[in-house]
């Protein structure tokens, strides 16, 4: 992954020659040893820019301006590269060298393989959104804004009105496990049918050189939007109950179930019936400001932080004006209730360079450089009580059952951290 | 955004020659015009019968544009809003520009439409005219069609054509006795239609109010060296140090003053031309080199010889503009042409003398002339409905 397009162009020629015709001839010993022998092992630490390597390359003929005999001279004084040049010349070797270093394997970013970046979050900074958050995970940063708009039931093509009785049934019926589950499923089905949640993810903000504006949203952006939409509908994060806007005629306001009102209620049933007049539609827009790997986790964090911050104004149906009106008093606005907190954790599997056959490293929360080197990707989303909400995996078969168990544990651990951060704010 | 569709084909030496001759005092323009004079043009109004107003304008260099204006009645206010603003809304006027071979989201097309729209709504007169009552308003669609490939920067052409079309626009008159919130009904008698920009003669015969309200016009002004030029040709644009589009309208209060509605700098195309050095020519004094940087405020100041903070670019351009426009817009050029239009529409042939002193050639034909009943207009139609002036 190169920072600057210019540099990438500059090196592409050399890299292709290295790969095709001239294997890197390093000093004898294992790759890591060789590299440590050549570089300064002291600086093999968490500061990425300071890592030093010396790479000995058998010079291809095209690099010589003189005759072939000079090659011996060159071999005695090999050129050295700063770390970032090495990373551009031979990315897999660079990463392998880091991961096979003495003691604990460490990634170029200074993290351990399963260590994830701790996100930071700043909520409520946007004026025009009902809820918002600016998040940053390492060098990946994004803004999420949640805005509520009103969908009137007249505008829904085939709307099946849900009566207050049905609503009350939930209260009266026994809260058996199956019933709750069925209710939840029906809720999210209704939410999906009406399209009450509208998440969109935008990468075309110049957040990385590969995502420039102009033209339709990229495949990556489309995929991520759809993944977030699915996550919203399958994770019980929100309930359609909180998005309904009711019309409760004044007469029915004190719904008493006392015996003396029984007769009255039956008589007035036609008039006093409370009904749903409109819904809140949540437009959730996530814009990336900077992208350095793992957009899905960052987007989810931004989404959760923004939803935690969302306060919808108090809304009611005004029968005289035939309008849904809102109160502008902030004290009357209601915090959006989140029923669960689905937390994702994405991993990549790195298989090492040519010499590291059969090895694999599972890297949590990859940055952009690592993403370019990993074919196999895993995303695990966990919810409350260690429930696994979703597992996505593609690109290979290196992760076995035991690994998976470990990864779920890691995701659970991360969820604990996130929930603390989202509920209580940053430490 | 490159103001011209094609990059300049002039060689560095030609550019250098042009630049030098335009920087002289007095300057020499390639077509021997004075810095303030416009090129001859041919105009025609009311040519599209299915529009509320239309105009065609043709510059001598062959560029030609047609503008059609259509009005539609629309309900004011959106969801939850039943009452509209008394002053009207900017978006009630919609300007679209259609150019040969350009997509409708092309930067140039968007820029032109925006610039013309900006000028039209800036003074609030047009918007206010579109209000019918509290619940209804007119929506004005102004469709601009550039028929020729854009040789010169087409902004003045389009603006003048729009101006003409708006002058000829009439909207049906509402039926009398309309209440404040009623659904509007209109008189189907086209003769009773109310002009969008009524001339003074429409309501009162006093001449003083003639310039009371007219659509604004946008002019292109370039500077080369210390000189300012109006209505630049393609070659002159290619060597311009700075290009400014200025939208002006006469102020409603007095006939002498011009009100400035919008000013914007346009990227001069000279920045994109290649310098002499790149073409392999010797770099010497006077060789063509595109100007880096921008309008230097000190250059302007040097010319006026004024103090430090007084006289920025705007003053300089407008200082020139004011004097020049008074001439052009006031009595000689554009104004006389406008008077001609008025005259043809409303029978004011008293301005005939003004026309004669015009330095520019105009030819205006109007089909509506024939429908008019006044004696004066019969005179016009007897002479063939077309004039060609000095």
């Amino acid at each position: 992954m190169s920072d600057r397009k210019g540099l990438q162009m500059e090196f592409s020629y050399v890299r292709c020659r290295v790969a095709e015709t001239l294997p890197l001839e390093l000093a004898p010993g294992s790759p890591a040893k060789r590299l440590r022998a050549a570089g300064n092992s002291q600086s093999f630490g968490p500061i990425p820019g300071r890592t030093k390597f010396a790479l000995q390359i058998q010079h291809p003929p095209f690099l010589h301006n003189g005759n072939q005999n000079n090659s011996i001279h060159h071999r005695t004084t090999p050129p050295t590269f700063p770390a970032h040049t090495f990373a551009k010349l031979a990315p897999p070797t660079y990463l392998t060298a880091h991961l096979t270093s003495k003691g604990v394997p460490i990634r170029p970013s200074g993290r351990s393989p399963t260590q994830f970046r701790t996100p930071t979050c700043h909520a409520g900074s946007l004026t025009h959104a009902h809820g918002s958050a600016v998040v940053r995970c390492g060098d990946t940063a994004g803004v999420c804004g949640v805005r509520g708009e009103i969908l009137r039931v007249e505008d829904v093509a085939d709307y099946r009105p849900k009566m207050a009785e049905e609503e009350e049934r939930v209260d009266t019926e026994m809260h058996s496990f199956q019933n709750v589950r069925r209710e939840k499923r029906e809720d999210s089905e209704e939410m999906a049918r009406l399209g009450l949640l509208v998440p969109n993810l935008e990468l075309a903000t110049g957040c990385s050189p590969t995502h420039l504006p102009g033209g339709p949203p990229s495949t990556l952006a489309q995929t991520l939007s759809q993944r977030i939409l699915t996550l919203l509908h399958t994770s019980n994060l929100l309930s359609v109950h909180d998005l309904r806007i009711w019309f409760r005629p004044p007469a029915s306001a004190p719904i008493c179930r006392g015996q003396e009102h029984e007769v009255m209620r039956e008589e007035e049933e036609e008039i006093v019936k409370a009904e749903v007049k409109a819904f809140w539609v949540l437009y959730i827009d996530i814009l990336f400001i900077s992208l350095d790997g793992n957009p899905f986790d960052a987007a989810c964090f931004a989404l959760l932080a923004a939803l935690c911050n969302t306060r919808l104004p108090h809304a009611w149906y005004d029968a005289d004006r035939e309008l849904v009106l809102c109160s502008d008093d902030p004290a009357e606005s209601k915090q959006l209730h989140l029923y669960d907190m689905p937390v994702p954790l994405s991993f990549g599997v790195f298989e090492g360079d040519e010499e590291a056959k059969g090895k694999k490293w599972i890297l949590a929360d990859m940055d952009g450089f690592e993403e370019g080197l990993c074919r196999e990707n895993v995303t695990i989303v966990v919810g409350e009580e260690k429930r696994v909400v979703r597992i996505e995996k593609d690109g290979g078969g290196n992760v076995g059952g035991r690994d998976m168990r470990r990864l779920v544990e890691l995701a659970v651990q991360r969820r604990r951290e996130w929930v603390l951060m989202l509920r209580d704010g940053p430490p | 955004m490159a103001p011209t569709a094609q990059p300049t084909i002039l060689s560095p030496s030609e550019l250098s020659y042009l630049h030098t001759s335009l920087s002289l005092n007095p300057p020499i323009r390639p077509d021997a015009r004075s810095p303030t004079s416009f090129r001859p043009l041919v105009a025609e109004t009311d040519l599209l019968p299915s529009t509320n107003g239309s105009a065609r304008l043709c510059f001598a260099d062959g560029t030609e544009a047609i503008v059609g204006v259509k009005g539609e009645v629309e309900r004011t206010g959106g969801v939850g809003k039943q009452i509209g603003g008394a002053g009207g809304e900017d978006w009630w006027v919609e300007v679209t520009v259609d150019m040969l071979g350009q997509r409708d989201d092309d930067a140039m097309v968007v820029f032109l439409a925006q610039m013309i729209h900006e000028g039209l709504v800036a003074d609030g007169i047009l918007r206010a005219r579109l209000v019918i009552n509290r619940r209804w308003h007119w929506r004005l669609y102004i469709d601009i069609l550039l028929l020729s490939p854009p040789h010169t920067y087409p902004l003045p052409l389009l603006s003048l054509t729009t101006h003409l079309a708006l002058l000829s626009t009439c909207l049906p008159a509402p039926v009398a006795g309309l209440e404040k919130d009623d659904d509007p009904l209109f008189n189907d008698d086209w003769d009773a239609a109310i002009p969008l920009y009524p001339s003074a003669s429409h309501f009162s015969k006093t001449k003083a109010n003639l310039s009371a309200a007219r659509p604004p016009i946008t002019l292109l002004v370039i500077s080369v060296g210390d000189n300012i030029f109006f209505d630049p040709s393609h070659a002159e644009l290619a060597v311009a140090d700075a290009v400014v589009a200025v939208t002006v309208a006469s102020s409603p209060s007095s006939t002498d003053n011009l009100n400035l509605l919008a000013v914007r700098t346009i990227d001069p195309p000279s920045r994109l031309s290649s310098s002499a050095a790149e073409m392999g020519q010797a770099i010497e004094e006077g060789a063509w080199k595109p100007k880096t940087g921008c309008i230097c405020r000190t250059v302007w100041r040097k010319r006026v010889g004024m103090g430090v903070m007084r006289g920025g670019v705007g003053e300089e351009v407008l200082g020139g503009l004011e004097g020049l426009l008074k001439k052009a817009y006031g009595f000689e050029g554009l104004h006389s042409w406008m008077i001609l239009v008025y005259r043809e529409r409303f029978g004011r042939y008293q301005e005939h003398q003004t026309l004669r002193i015009s330095t520019v050639g105009w030819k205006v034909t109007s089909r509506r002339v024939l429908d008019m009943r006044t004696e004066a207009d019969m005179v016009v139609s007897q002479t063939g409905g077309s004039y060609r002036m000095g």
Binding site: T77, L126, T205 | A86, V248
Partner: protein, 319 residues
Amino acid sequence: MDRRRVNGPPGGTAPPCYASTLSGKTHPSPKRTRGANEIRKIFLKTGLTPSASGSAYFELETPPTNYSNSLTNRTSALKLTCTVHGPRPLPRSAPFSPQLLLSTRVKFAPFAARQRRSYIPDSGERDLAAHLETALRGVLIGERWPKSGVDIIVTVLEGEEDRPWDALAAGNQNGRTGGWGMMSILSGCITVASAAITDAGIDCVDVVIGGVAAIVRQPAAPPQLVLDPCPSDHEEVIAACVVGYLQSRDEVTETWAKGNVTASSDGKGTTPMGFNALVDQAVEAAVAARRVLVEAIRESTEAKIQSSQAKLPDKLTSV
């Protein structure tokens, strides 16, 4: 309908309609508390997007909101991010260009304004981009990068509103003209793009800074010339002007003025409320903003020098 995005309900939705705006119970609209020649505080930081060649973030201070506690009365503050990608080689298919090709884009986030904005670019955004390009083209020394292009992308996270919410809904905008918020946004775009270009290390003749001035009128008060206007603070904006100004060369790359001003002096000098005074005041605003820009550039340059010094020994080691 854009099938490549998640769309809302097909029936369409409406933004919340507040009861207070219908009943005509209006809150006191915000008032300008700054002096007439005082600009809002600017926060400017470069290097926000490490993967871009250059980037910057711009924010104006949020005015204090102590006048009333209402959801309709929250005033917004301009927030912009800018990324610069390049200069990089043009694609092989592109025709030869002796100069650096500049492409500018301005995009509003969907939550940037009171009404939700679409992802599809509208003409206002394109117009802003054209203005920005004019402002920047005069500054870049383009002939140093033949056959290359640079992309400058500004994202408006939060824009400025033209008028208070009450006025919008109740329809008492007596002859107000719209689009004044765009002027402040353009000024911010120029400044933030300038910072990002400097961060990317592209050669310029000077830093270009945006400045806005406006002639405003309060009810029962004479017109007043103010720097850095916040349109919703004022009853009526008569005219406004944005400049892109180069202080060290005393040049103006971009002028954008709108409104109704008397054209100019009558040969005797500047009229107090004339166009020239407006331009001069906009330049004043730009000069005031320049200090913030220079400070931000100095900070980022110092940080870069430090990190490059730390890296320097790498290149000298050899086996």
